[in-house]
């Protein structure tokens, strides 16, 4: 089990220098095993600092992070072991590819775990399968691949550690619409196949709205909102006041309501918008 419990977590950068800056302050929350979470907030809101605490890349200035009941900062061993349990995919992960072959690069994590050769091979195949990297690419150099393929190989490199929690920081940044859809599909597949917790850090409201079951909104190092997409997007004014955009459908629904059309429920996907408008049409027709 990989339940995450965060207790009054704070992080201050460059303590005691003129550059001292509080990145996150007194954050407490619980993420149960298997949840699909979106972390929203603009650059500098603290969301990236926050996720780097979940696998002990950053140590808290104060507060605690528990994963599966263990304090991940307890000792050096715990700090290292949590890396297998909580996989973190950074923004533009393709820039960290370094091995001569795709296979070796995906195998880097499992190798660091000290697994046996057969086990490593099995995991590489499995991870490559989740992200749709074909086996005939295994012996190619990662540098020869296309941008989208590189990104998927890099994600496979983290998935191959079979983390119970998968965190992705802006996994679709810089990709075209087709590339974005493919990555999001891969992530959904991984979650369906393993029951892992998935946390996506994103600016993209439309993705966040469509895929996740819980949204946590960061603002100035604090959790400003936390709830289901329905709850979050039923308060679009609050999102806008934080300086975040709302999904296009939500914006359109707001405008329609202003024009006196009485749309039902929270609207944050295209399908919901169409359904709400159609329903109105039927009622109107009666």
């Amino acid at each position: 089990m990989s339940e995450i419990i965060v207790e009054s977590l704070s992080h201050v950068y460059s303590v005691g220098t003129p550059f001292q800056k509080t990145a996150i302050e007194n954050i407490s929350l619980r993420i149960p095993q298997g949840q699909f979470v979106g972390l929203l907030g603009h650059t500098g809101s603290g969301k990236s600092t926050f996720v780097q605490h979940l696998n002990a890349l950053l140590a808290p200035t104060s507060g605690k992070v528990l994963v599966g009941g263990t304090d991940i900062n307890r000792d050096k061993k715990a700090r290292r072991d949590v890396k297998w349990q909580v996989g973190l995919v950074f923004q533009y992960p393709e820039y960290q590819l370094f091995e001569e072959t795709v296979f070796a690069d995906i195998a880097f994590g499992p190798k660091n775990m000290g697994l046996k050769k057969e086990e490593i091979e099995e995991r590489v195949r499995e991870a490559a399968g989740f992200v749709g990297v074909e086996e005939d690419l295994f012996q190619r150099s990662p540098l020869e691949l296309s941008g989208g393929q590189k990104r998927r190989v890099a994600i496979a490199g983290v998935i191959a550690m079979r983390p119970g929690v998968l965190i992705l920081d802006e996994p679709t940044a810089g990709l075209d619409p087709a590339g974005c859809r493919q990555i999001m599909d891969n992530i959904r597949q991984y979650r369906a196949g393993t029951g892992a917790t998935v946390i996506i850090v994103s600016h993209n409201m439309d993705d966040a709205a469509r895929l996740t079951e819980r949204l946590i909104v960061f603002d100035h190092g604090h959790v400003a909102m936390d709830g289901s997409p329905e709850e979050i997007f039923s308060q679009p004014e609050k999102l806008i006041s934080i300086g975040l955009a709302v999904p296009q459908s939500t914006a359109l629904a707001m405008a329609l309501r202003e024009k006196g059309l009485d749309l039902d429920g929270a609207v944050f996907t295209h399908e919901q918008l169409i359904a709400a408008v159609r329903k109105l049409k039927e009622v109107g027709a009666c």
Binding site: R80, G87, F90, Y95, Q96, N112, L143, V158, M161
Partner: protein, 265 residues
């Protein structure tokens, strides 16, 4: 962690030292270094020390910043001092001891020399923007173009390198975190294992540096860069009265140190 490196960093300011022409400062540092190596006796060293302190005070650079930048060189300084203390023949400080008065004398002077050398060059880089510095160098080395030395290209490369240091440091930090997240271990193991552990950082860093260089070259060409010929500068270097005074003082300083050396002081 890597961001703490202050080597070669510029601290903007508006003191007289900051305002001096970079050529003046470059020449002055050159004269200073020559003087430093001419100093022999304690009086000579005292004079150099005094002048250094004066320049530091004028440029509002705190000794703390200088020492912070000196940290990476601490090992060399200590080693040189130790070698001098233990391997200089002369009168032992106590009968039968290996440490001699001459050794201590030399060690202290050696430390002084290295520390002052570093301080002098730091004063230059702390008070002069890298751009101004390379501009100054380009002008000073200008005559060498006549004998075919690619002065413009060399100074341009230098300023580019300086421009990209912070970017590369940031990138190294990022790659390191990413590899740590995949369980890379940079802290344990013997020397060879540790060197090998650096590959996952160095390879991506190299690849990205080449990509950067490539993109940068195209971007520069797009902005009509076509070599040094026919280029003008927005900020033209101009020698003011204060520059000539500073240069005169620097020459005077060197002369004084040489005179002291002749006098055996």
């Amino acid at each position: 962690m890597l961001k703490d490196i202050t080597l070669g960093q510029f601290f903007p300011g508006d003191t007289i030292v900051h305002r001096l022409d970079p050529r003046t400062k470059l020449l002055a540092v050159l004269l200073y270094i020559v003087a430093l190596f001419q100093a022999k006796g304690w009086v000579g060293y005292g004079l150099v020390l005094l002048v250094t302190a004066l320049c530091m005070a004028m440029s509002h650079i705190s000794p703390k910043n200088i020492f912070k930048g000196m940290k990476p060189m601490l090992f060399i300084i200590v080693l040189t001092a130790l070698l001098n203390i233990f391997y200089t023949a002369g009168t032992p400080i106590l009968p039968g001891w290996i440490v001699t008065w001459e050794g201590i004398d030399r060690a202290v002077k050696m430390i002084l020399r290295i520390v002052l050398l570093i301080t002098g060059t730091f004063l230059l880089t702390y008070t002069t923007s890298p751009m101004a510095l390379t501009d100054g160098m380009e002008v000073l080395l200008g005559p060498m173009k006549k004998i075919g030395v690619p002065v413009h290209e060399m100074t341009l490369m230098m300023s580019m390198a300086l421009r990209f240091i912070p970017t590369l440091i940031e990138e190294t930090d990022k790659i390191m975190s990413a590899q740590k997240a995949r369980g890379a271990d940079f802290e344990s193991g013997n020397l060879i294992q540790r060197a090998k552990a650096l590959l996952p950082i160095l390879v991506p860093l190299f690849v990205s540096s080449f990509r950067r260089a490539d993109e940068l070259a195209v971007a520069m060409e797009s902005r009509c860069y076509h070599g040094g010929s026919g280029r003008t500068r927005m900020k033209q270097l101009r020698m003011e009265r204060r520059d000539w005074i500073a240069l005169a003082l620097s020459v005077l300083f060197l002369a004084a140190v040489i005179v002291l050396r002749r006098l055996g002081l």
